[in-house]
Symmetry: C2
Subunit: 476 residues, 2 copies
């Protein structure tokens, strides 16, 4: 019995494969409200493990958590022109409350710039109040037409950092600090190598001076963005009247950043690491890192084996271990289920193994099996889990490197796109051309690398002068 | 300079004292949306410390976290008759989204019974699926007319546990397990002794079979409820079509519980422990457990003292220590500020102390000061923080015990109420009488103790037969 029975193969229909995994691995469920998902315990635990680690990184950077209201007065959203244009079409609006029609309608936050910065203007008076470094873990709502669990949902969970600085340079540094934090987090916790760079004018956050992002390569050759960091310039500070008295006695307008990652990261994990047998979870974010499956011929033998499992578990208290002591399902069923759920290591042990003082161990990522000595258990499992994260990352890195193809004209561009992954090409950075490229090829500008040098080039599409090579791809 | 300058004395105007603390200790701020508060970093950190510990207790009980949608279809709320009567008047309603009027209005969740149980009916098929033990950390919205930060706000943060069981007995056990968990948490983390008991029919959760609660005694003699646990009976399972195939092959309707605590606990901390100098935080939930204030005559001396502080801090990495190295404010200002913020221990050190190998230490709770040896630093501070939690708890316990007065008629009842705290009296449990008592005395039934024995008594108010003594008090 293979999970292929339960999962549509990736090669057949990647989108259906994705939905199958979300369902069968019990990550999320659909709710009665269109586009809103229910995050099930197994999926939510992944989110908690992500949160714990990222929250630590955020605090280490001196950023403090706070909580701002869910509701935003409609008039706030309209204060920054680009921002309202970007978000107004997709907001949910509370018009009635407490049995009455409200005098001013309230927007359910799609992002919190406006509600936060209204308050920031009260908190910031002098240079001593800067930098102001605040983060919030919250739910946000964007009324999307087409939704998919984790990847695009009407309501999602995220963190949003919102900082204020005395100068543009400090805001630049903070924008990149957050981006680097996300890239490091993706490497250490998600085993995902990412491209880091700047978004085009067309793709940037509405209201930002510029937007930076991280993107990873999915198994279907598409790119998935799952973290952004914006330098907001003074675009919000001005309409929200944020100013500070500087050391030199002058009143100045500060510079701001905002940055966020969301439950979309769970979607990224699935599409970047998953295979035809199910999820592949990197150990740092696996709710169960090791599953132990005792194989017994009767209940007495099972009791003994379960005792062995408990002893082994106690030796490594920091590792998340689950003992599968179910009698009502077969070994084949169990193997399939734990592969489907992406558990990094599966231990099988029977009477024979115990007599030989050994354990059978199977890796989820590369399907390798081995026999290990019970005496070395603690060291072996600790080392192996670390090794797996590194191996998954390195394999993904090779895949990413092999999936970037250069193109100097449309024909090459389309041929490269056909192979999946990224096309790197000189691009004139003209928004109109960008729109045409997207309409013709379905590919969008993903980013221009942070360290991309300026050279004299020719736009692959318009033939106009171009100075930087951009990454293009079909995207989530 | 005393904090009395900044804070209205409790004896003068307790409500104003409360609002002063919330503001001056930077716990919360008002937002542009009526009744919605902004939880500032210092206040939010208290919430995080509460969450961390309580989340651990919840997981230890085998309850798993999940996340359900913010929005509830209007038709769901109306399925349980009492429930909708209780909540309909105070809901916020989304009528428009994505630029269009919605076909069915969406309620912003005031509590999640209905949205969760709709899904539970899909998840539960057989006895093997029970018990189902789910918890959610979330924001909820109840449109309140009169609001006060933390104590009663339109939006607040909470956790809500929602469990399903095969029998009433199992639901009874879970209801009390959750209540006991809250009481233990209140003792260990908040240093708060609580009364535990059953609510009256009038005061119970709308839709529950019965409600249990914990209540603590505030400094103004009022009672504050800050945790409830309900046995919901089959009241929701029936309209939401939750049923399971039991071992005996019969289809049965399960029994449910729900239980929650919220950011109101921060309000409870303030009103139960605070004094005229500000907050008094029990060490387990203090964002800063120890503040170190170096006292130097010049910058060079300050540099040396700060180095000493860092060395001391490194010796106790698990203790949350802040070093106050500000030059621009006076020692008096610092002392007032840290007292206002309720920091449990304040260390002062100058050149003289260091030469004598000693530190000055001041407790926030009882204002005791002492000189301790630097050599014993690590042990002393660790022991002292534990001792403080125990001392605060014991003092509160004595206060609580001394604040329960018995009454056998209305005159005694009113006299007892005048003294503040609880009045314990036989009560006939007639809802109409309960209403009259409230109108006449402003006191409400708080609870009847879990272990209250049944006896033959006479209702203090109606003169009718009564079997149990209830706790009455004015309440938050």
């Amino acid at each position: 019995m293979s999970n292929k029975k339960f999962l549509t193969p990736q090669s057949e229909d990647f989108s259906q494969w994705y939905l199958d995994i979300v369902d069968k691995a019990e990550l999320a469920d659909y709710s009665a409200v269109k586009g809103c998902m229910i995050i099930r315990p197994y999926g939510y635990r992944i989110w908690e493990l992500m949160q714990q680690d990222l929250d630590h990184r955020i605090k280490e950077a001196g950023v403090q958590n706070a909580y701002f209201p869910l509701f935003i007065p409609e008039s706030f959203l309209t204060k920054e022109k680009d921002h309202v244009e970007g978000f107004a079409p997709e907001v949910a609006v509370v018009t009635h409350a407490g049995g009455k029609k409200l005098e001013e309608a309230l927007i359910v936050r799609p992002t919190s710039e406006t509600i936060m910065y209204d308050t920031y203007s009260k908190w910031i008076e002098s240079y001593r109040d800067l930098p102001l470094l605040i983060n919030q873990w919250a739910n946000v709502v964007r009324w999307e037409m087409r939704t998919r669990p984790f990847l695009r949902t009407t309501e999602f969970l995220w963190q949003e950092g919102h900082t204020v600085h005395a100068t543009k340079e400090e805001a630049d540094v903070e924008t990149l600090r957050a981006l680097t934090m996300y890239a490091d987090f993706a490497r250490d916790m998600l085993a995902l190598p990412v491209l880091k760079g700047y978004k085009s004018e067309k793709e940037k956050f509405r209201g930002a001076l510029y937007t930076t992002c991280i993107e990873a390569l999915a198994k279907d050759g598409k790119s998935i963005q799952f973290g952004t960091s914006h330098n907001l310039g003074q675009n919000f500070a001005k309409p929200f009247n944020i100013s500070f008295l500087d050391k030199d006695g002058e009143r100045k307008i500060p510079w701001q950043t905002s940055w966020g990652v969301s439950t979309r990261m769970i979607g990224a994990l699935i599409v970047c690491h998953g295979d035809d047998d199910g999820l592949v979870l990197p150990p740092p974010v696996a709710p169960i890192q090791v599953v132990m499956v005792p194989i017994a011929k009767d209940e007495k033998e099972l009791g003994h084996l379960i005792q062995v499992c408990h002893d082994l578990k106690q030796q490594v208290p920091s590792i998340r271990i689950h003992i599968d002591n179910r009698l009502e399902v077969s070994l084949g069923f169990k193997r399939n289920e734990w592969e489907l759920k992406g558990v990094p290591l599966r231990i099988e042990l029977g009477k024979q193994e115990i007599e030989k003082n050994s354990l059978s161990i199977a890796r989820r990522d590369n399907k390798e099996k081995a026999t290990i000595s019970i005496n070395d258990w603690s060291d072996t499992v600790t080392t192996l889990l670390k090794q797996m994260t590194a191996d998954i990352y390195q394999n993904m890195e090779k895949r990413l490197e092999g999936s970037v193809h250069e193109a100097s004209n449309l024909q090459e561009f389309e041929a490269a796109l056909e192979r999946g992954g990224y096309v790197k090409a000189y691009f004139c950075e003209d928004g109109e051309m960008e729109q045409k490229i997207q309409e013709k090829t379905k590919a969008t500008t993903r980013l221009v690398a942070l360290d991309e040098p300026e050279k004299k080039g020719v736009c692959f599409y318009s033939g106009k002068p171009a100075k930087r090579r951009w990454y293009f791809a079909k995207a989530y």
